[in-house]
């Protein structure tokens, strides 16, 4: 009986070790290798749409954007593009006292990076993600996501002249 338990314990340890190795490998890959390539553009999406509200073009150092559809009882026009502080503000879906809250995204042309510096949500997961140069940032309660495009797309011309 004792021997059986011993064998059982050993098997448990091996199983846990295998799982740790798998999880560790995946963690290391996604945090250090999967997104370490230079990005050309960061697209900011709202909701389920695949048409970005704003695109941060790191190569041309410019912001392209279209108007975000928001209800009439919100005074500001979104997105708010602040070129002095290098921020883009969208209206998220998370509500406080019935009012939708803003999500403020800060960009850095030189570092080709993006960071969510202000948002309201229960756990503030997306603002705790910190600065990203390629890893997608997703603010789930606010339904805002940021995805990166690499410097080279074989299906797109390199230049328009």
């Amino acid at each position: 009986m004792q021997n059986r338990n011993k064998t059982q314990n050993r098997r448990d340890i091996i199983l846990v070790s295998i799982l740790l190795v798998i999880i560790g490998s995946v963690f290391v890959y996604f945090n250090f290798f999967a997104y370490n390539q230079d990005s050309a553009v960061a697209h900011i999406y709202y909701g389920n749409s695949n048409d970005p509200i704003a695109s941060i073009d790191f190569v041309n150092q410019e912001i392209k954007y279209r108007k975000q559809d928001v209800p009439n009882d919100y005074d500001d026009i979104y997105p708010i593009i602040d070129t002095d502080n290098r921020t883009i503000t969208l209206l998220g879906d998370y509500r406080v006292d019935g009012r939708r809250q803003i999500v403020v995204i800060q960009y850095n042309f030189g570092a080709k990076s993006v960071k969510i510096i202000q948002e309201s949500s229960p756990n503030n997961i997306c603002s705790l993600e910190g600065t990203s140069t390629g890893k997608p940032l997703i603010c789930l309660p606010n339904r805002i996501r940021i995805e990166f495009e690499k410097t080279y797309d074989e299906n797109e011309p390199d230049f328009t002249v």
Partner: protein, 406 residues
């Protein structure tokens, strides 16, 4: 059993470690292992974008500084808007030369070389490239004013369809016009300038006599001199300086052993080395559609090339419309007016300065005049020429195999 477990563990660890391999499609030698890109817009009113690969970050930063300095120098030497600063290292610039007609002035070799090339190009283009017509260019630029949103009831010109229509509605920045269900962005329309404004400029430029212009260049004991004469002469190097500086930047990159690079000087001029990832090292270049110029519009064609310069002169930026015609900033020295033969002229060749100047000259030549030039000089200068004509046809005069799709 033990062996089976050990085998499975080894297998999983191997898979895990393979997943950690960095995704790198090319075997990179050390000389090109570091990718660097930067941009600046301090000079020549142009956003300069540079991408290249070299051996290290330190080397890349040195190259960045050198390229920045090249553009800075040519900007300071060739501007006709600002005098040199009091502590400038340079002897004269175009602004100060324009202030001192009929005086022999010592200038720096770098500026001398640009003016000398410009004068050589004036000769081989039969006067279609002329850096002395700054006053005429200024007169036409004076009517190219910033865009304004129209009001309901205004008549606007739809640039894509080349028709005039009345504005019926403006909603959230979109413009609706009679006869079209689609809406237009402010970039898709133009307000007509008045006949009066056009005629005023024509009157002004007809009074500018360019026949007495002269630019004398002399060299003595490695010192360089210029003297300009003519009542209305005003030097303007805007049609060559950007390309010339870009070529110098490219020469510098090549001298540093850089093989993979691109420099884009605004939307009209690029120089390219080899592409790091594309098959055969060739860049894929798109040609701007001068009729549909909104950011989402595709170009009118593409081609592949490497180790060349590409320059487009066109009437799709900085222009006004009068009676169906675009009046832009490229002025013909022959007629003293913007020409209406082409919407764009694109050149592919080996020297960005030459291309910048020649594309400006060709823009004012008729098809017949251009074809005479091609007959005489195309092979000597190894130029590919593509024109997007006023009637929306495309004409190609190609020497290189560029796999074009237009």
């Amino acid at each position: 059993m033990k062996k089976t477990i050990m085998f499975i563990m080894t297998l999983l660890i191997s898979i895990g470690l393979v997943a950690c391999k960095k995704d790198n499609p090319n075997d990179v030698d050390e000389a090109h292992s570091y990718a660097h890109s930067f941009a600046f817009d301090n000079y020549m009113s142009t956003l300069i974008r540079v991408n290249f690969r070299t051996s290290s970050r330190d080397k890349a930063l040195n190259i960045q500084q050198e390229i920045h300095d090249i553009y800075k120098m040519y900007h300071e030497l060739t501007t006709n808007y600002d005098p040199l600063s009091v502590d400038s290292l340079y002897k004269q610039n175009i602004y100060s030369i324009n202030q001192q007609k009929d005086v022999t002035l010592e200038i720096d070799k770098e500026l001398y070389d640009v003016i000398l090339l410009s004068e050589e190009l004036r000769v081989i283009t039969n006067g279609f490239f002329n850096i002395g017509i700054g006053e005429i260019v200024d007169a036409w630029k004076s009517i190219i004013t910033p865009e304004e949103l129209p009001n309901i009831g205004d008549t606007v010109f739809l640039t894509e369809f080349e028709v005039y229509r009345q504005v019926t509605q403006i909603d959230k920045g979109r413009i609706y016009v009679e006869g079209y269900s689609q809406s237009f962005s402010p970039f898709d329309i133009k307000m007509d300038v008045t006949d009066l404004a056009i005629n005023e400029v024509k009157t002004t430029v007809s009074g500018i006599n360019i026949s007495d212009f002269s630019i004398e260049l002399t060299e003595e004991d490695n010192r360089y001199y210029v003297k300009i004469s003519g009542a209305n002469i005003k030097l303007d190097l805007g049609a060559i300086s950007k390309g010339y500086a870009t070529q110098k930047a490219m020469d510098y990159l090549v001298s540093e052993g850089v093989k993979y690079f691109s420099i884009s000087a605004g939307s009209s001029s690029i120089v390219i080395g080899e592409h790091f990832q594309r098959e055969g090292g060739r860049y894929w270049i798109e040609l701007t559609n001068p009729i549909q110029t909104t950011t989402q519009s595709p170009g009118y064609g593409t081609f592949y090339a490497k180790n060349v310069s590409v320059t487009t002169s066109g009437n799709y930026e900085q222009y006004v419309v009068n009676n169906f015609k675009r009046y832009h900033h490229i002025v013909s020295p022959e007629t003293k007016e913007p020409a209406h033969f082409y919407h764009t002229v694109t050149l592919i060749g080996e020297d960005a300065g030459l291309l910048d100047a020649l594309s400006t000259a060709f823009f004012s030549m008729s098809k017949e005049q251009l074809e005479i030039w091609i007959e005489l000089y195309q092979e000597i200068y190894q130029l590919d020429i593509i024109t997007f004509n006023q009637d929306r046809t495309i004409t190609k005069y190609l020497l290189r195999d560029i796999d074009e799709d237009f």
